[in-house]
Amino acid sequence: MTNLDSNGPTKQRLAWNQIVTLYRYELRSALRERAIVINSILIPIFLYPLIMWVAFSGIMLVKWHSDSTQSRVVVQDWPREHPELRNRITREKRITLIEETNRFDPREISAARLDALVLFEPASGSASNLPGNFQVGITFDSSKDRSVAARERLESVINDYRREWLAREARKREISPEEWAGIHIDSKNVATKRQMGGFVLGMMLPILFVVMVAAGTFYPAIDCTAGERERNTWETLMSSGASRVNVIVAKYLYVTTFGTMAGILNLLAFAVTLKPIFAPLLKEAGTMLNFTVLPQSIPLIATGAVLLAGFVSAGMMIFAAFARTFKEGQAMIMPFYLIVMLPPIFLQTPGIQFSVPLSCVPVVNVTMMIRSALTGEFPMLQIAITFVASVLAIALCIRIAAYILKFEEVMIGNYNGSLKRFLRERFLAKPGRSMKGAHD
């Protein structure tokens, strides 16, 4: 029966100089591994800005495209009393009137050679009480973008015309313009540019931040456990003079470093590139957004990244510890990875406040904290709870990891990388054939 490293009376101690050496070795070898550099550094910096740039360029392209297409329209039986309406439709830049000598064939629209048919008829029923009143039939095809656009353009011209016609009628009936105009309605947004920027960031950021921190820890966590087994360096390390606890602590710190780095780099890249990405949109909305991060929120954001990375890396290392190969490690971690990403998805809906109950949930609390920090709000109670809750969660995960790694079989990778087998053999097997393991 062995309980590794605790055979003697000496209690395990953390030797920080050893840890630092190990940590530096891990860091250096990680920076030379292409997969890690790409996944933990380059993707956080480039991926989302790039995707968003492509997406917005695409949206703009579609917009230009649909703005610049002409609507081909056939109009029949113009109402004689309303030459002004005819003028307006003819003048509308994006509508091309097509002269149709024969009777109109709706198949022209179905075949997309024409976008809409407008048919003016005298009003019927009670509506015909007003001389000159008419009704308009617009034939279009809602399965064609161009046809829908044509209908919208026509409708908007007709609506404008109707409004002015009514005003004209009002004047005829001696209603003063002031009386007719009534109350004017306007709106004003008093949120500051920064608040607006924070709002936009807050919609996208929680999920991206968690994804990036998790992605940043993903490769290093596998690489420094399963990867080492695959490369056969695990045993070399285990047979070295460094105590196992120190090795694990160093690895944990290293994984956390990468998670933190990925998170912060991603945030920075995001904050820097949002303005150029949104530039075409901002031009229309009038520059209303400010994405610069408040200086006083930077420490809080950085701490948030550390807490989140600390939790995620501890969780990942628990799972990765069983794997023998890189591929296995990936498969083991994937469920945890996905579960971590679930809560922020719920947070994407606006209006969710950083409440006290939310600040008790790991992952969620940190993302909420970062979100409020970005908008310049610092609810102290919630922040304090977030700290405590996160540290507790991390401590718990580390305890579990330490417990699992006490078992020789896990250290050597004897469970075929199977968590199920570990649990079964460790806790459920009959004492007779159970493997040797830890005792207190």
């Binding site: 297409t69 997309a112 007003l130 009143n133 617009i138 279009f140 809602s142 004017h184």
Partner: protein, 676 residues
């Protein structure tokens, strides 16, 4: 080489069996998403619905300030009466409550109030009809809070409706003979069936969804089948059997295709199930859009897409040396493959156009047209053939990867670290330019409003030139050699003279051709030319800033450093194309990409053929100057007759004929692959 069906089948069965036995991968790649995806969708739709319900039932708090408080309050009361009459039949009617508050804006900021109605007198704003100052109300709100902005929206429309009712009543009280709403009524007759209307929405997205499913499913198989086998050493075993390489690839392709198809079917079934359970809110009209016949046709159409994507995946897997590396390529490959699937999002691109020759995009468009009930059979057949043919060609390419020895036998040829700065530079040149691009992009967004002279100076001198000097310094490069600062043969100048108008005309023609495919709104063009040629700058200044400076500095950076770095690692043809594309991408605006990339390609080819950067510099400067001059004196270079562009092409061809005859190639080109 012929395929022996028995052998391909044996290989296929074996591959399939092994993949199905890889339980862990199957679980993480198939089962996990099956559970997680609906969970995510359901979760987000649940929270969204809940929030909507909250906003719906909320009683919005507001205060009234400013002038004319009494008048505004009357309107609000009228509105309240009207709405409370509706509230008996409709529970989700807008409810609001006025709250007394002395400092209402502060209360709004604290979140106590949802919005504030602020009365003011509007000075005559619009001219038609000429109006006196009139009562106005401003809804003050916080756009960064959804309750506040929802409240503002609702209040706005409620007030507006009240005012309209008042107006109508007023009109009728003066003897208006009809209901004002009956004036010029519009009746809409929709020729499309509801199924076809739904088909439009579905048609825009279906390819994207299928693509993601096919790629993520196929990657599981493809990564394991080549990269994984390489890593495990079983590929070598397989290659020593009498199965030919074509057979091996055929079997692997078939396996990838089957797995991708299977996973896609499972995922779609899964999605449909959750749609059925109403976890995912989608209109049921989609079901009507897909009749069994249409479904069968779509299946037939997407088969070559799946085959093509499988080939792409196998190709990347074959290129990678390990499983891990193959996975690393997955993301970029997916992003690139998704681009053509976005084609149906562009409105009104018919299949009967050049798009029919673009694999994947053509099928995406065909699927959309079929879903809106439009069957252009010859073009559908052509699209099918194009995509299937591309797939077959890529599959053949992956056969060649099995013959590329450096890839099969890891360790035969190790990538040794470069021995000199130039070697290191050629490895890092991509990263340098990626960073340079990002920096230029970001800086430009901040200098966008500045004077064009400032912009040009910042870009060319501050970024391109300093960046280039940094690269030269960092890798201790020999500047004369790196930048190809050497004299060309004298006859080359004759070619350049010929090429200047030729290049400008051809590039303009090309730009026009693309603009006719993907139209650019005239406003954008105008805005662009206004930004480039601002008022109050003399032609001389323009030529200095927009022709001479770019001619020197852009060539310095692109045909100097970039070209030099790439030429040590790539085939010259690839160098020319990549340099051109990068040059185009550095011009940001998408509609300029084709023209600038084309010129970039010309300059790169010129530099490689003459071994000197000077002709490219002169040509570049003259090209820009010529473009500026034609613009200023009003020659519409983008609206010439087509034969003029034809002359341009001929001139250009002549120029390159001269360069070819007088060639003095760039030193150190890699015409042949280094491995045998």
């Amino acid at each position: 080489m012929s395929l022996r069906p028995a052998i391909v089948f044996a290989l296929f069965r074996n591959e399939l069996r092994m993949i199905l036995r890889d339980k862990r991968t199957i679980i993480t790649a198939v089962l996990l998403p099956l559970i997680i995806t609906p969970l995510m969708l359901a979760g987000s739709s649940h929270t969204r619905k809940k929030r909507e319900a909250t906003l719906q039932s909320k009683v919005y708090q507001f205060a009234i300030t400013g002038t004319n408080v009494a008048e505004i309050r009357t309107v609000v009361q009228l509105t309240e009466e009207r709405l409370s009459a509706q509230a008996k039949t409709n529970a989700s009617v807008f409810k609001f409550k006025e709250v007394e508050n002395t400092n209402s804006i502060a209360a709004l900021n604290r979140g106590v109030l949802d919005f504030v109605l602020e009365g003011f007198i509007e000075e005559s704003g619009s001219n038609d009809p000429p109006s006196e100052p009139r009562t106005a109300v401003r809804i003050v709100y916080r756009a960064d809070r959804d309750d506040s902005s929802t409240g503002m929206d609702k209040m706005w429309s409620a007030l507006e409706r009240t005012d309209r009712n008042r107006r109508y009543e007023l009109l009728q009280s003066r003897g208006f003979p009809v209901q004002p709403g009956e004036l010029a009524t519009v009746e809409k007759a929709d020729l499309a069936t509801p199924a076809h209307a739904a088909g439009l929405t579905l048609g825009k997205m279906i390819t994207l969804f299928l693509l993601v499913f096919i790629l993520s499913g196929g990657a599981i198989a493809a990564n394991d089948l080549l990269a994984g086998e390489k890593e495990r050493g079983t590929l070598e075993t397989l290659l020593t059997t009498s199965a030919s390489r074509v057979e091996i690839i055929a079997a692997k392709h078939l396996t990838t295709l089957s797995i991708a198809g299977f996973i896609t079917v499972v995922q779609i079934g899964n999605l449909m199930m959750y749609v059925g359970f109403r976890v995912i809110p989608i209109s049921t009209k989609f079901a009507a859009a897909i009749t069994p016949g249409v479904a069968l046709l779509l299946l037939m159409l997407f088969l070559p897409v799946a085959a093509l994507l499988s080939s792409v995946l196998l190709l990347t897997s074959g290129f990678a040396k390990s499983y891990k590396e193959a996975q690393l390529y997955f993301l970029p490959v997916t992003l690139i493959a998704i681009l053509p699937a976005l084609a149906p999002m562009l409105p009104d691109v018919p299949l009967r156009s050049i798009i029919c020759l673009m694999p994947i995009a053509n099928i995406a468009i065909a699927a959309k047209e079929i879903l809106i009930g439009w069957y252009d059979w010859p073009m559908i057949a052509l699209a099918w053939l194009v995509t299937a043919g591309t797939g077959a060609w890529l599959t053949k390419l992956s056969v060649s990867f099995l013959s590329a020895e450096r890839l099969i036998t890891a360790g035969v040829s190790k990538d040794l670290p470069p021995t000199d700065g130039a070697g290191w530079f050629s490895r890092r040149v991509g990263i340098w330019f990626a960073i340079l691009w990002a920096v230029v992009w970001i800086v430009n967004s901040y200098t966008a409003t500045a004077d064009v002279r400032v912009q040009v100076t910042v870009n060319l001198v501050g970024l391109f030139f300093i960046g280039s000097l940094l690269m030269l310094w960092r890798y201790k490069l020999n500047w004369r050699e790196t930048l190809a600062f050497r004299a060309p043969k004298p006859a080359v100048w004759l070619g350049v003279l010929c090429g200047i108008p030729g290049g400008l005309l051809t590039a303009s023609g090309l730009s026009r051709l693309t603009t006719s495919l993907v139209p650019v709104s005239p406003e954008t063009m105008e805005e662009f030319s206004r930004a480039v040629i601002p008022e109050g700058v003399t032609l001389g200044e323009l030529i200095f800033f927009l022709a001479l400076l770019p001619g020197f500095f852009e060539e310095f950076t692109f045909r100097g450093l970039l070209l030099n770095g790439l030429s040590r690692r790539m085939h010259p043809v690839a160098v020319v194309i990549v340099v051109g594309l990068v040059f185009g991408i550095f011009h940001f605006a998408l509609f300029r990409l084709v023209g600038t990339a084309f010129l970039g390609i010309l300059f790169a080819a010129l530099t490689l053929m003459t071994g000197s950067i000077f002709p490219a510099m002169i040509w570049h400067a003259c090209n820009n100057a010529l473009a500026l001059i034609t613009e200023t004196i009003g020659i519409p270079i983008m609206e010439l007759d087509w034969w003029m562009y034809g002359i341009g092409v001929v001139l250009l061809a002549m120029a390159f004929w001269i360069f070819w005859r007088e060639r003095k190639p760039y030193p150190g080109l890699r015409w042949r692959r280094r491995d045998p």
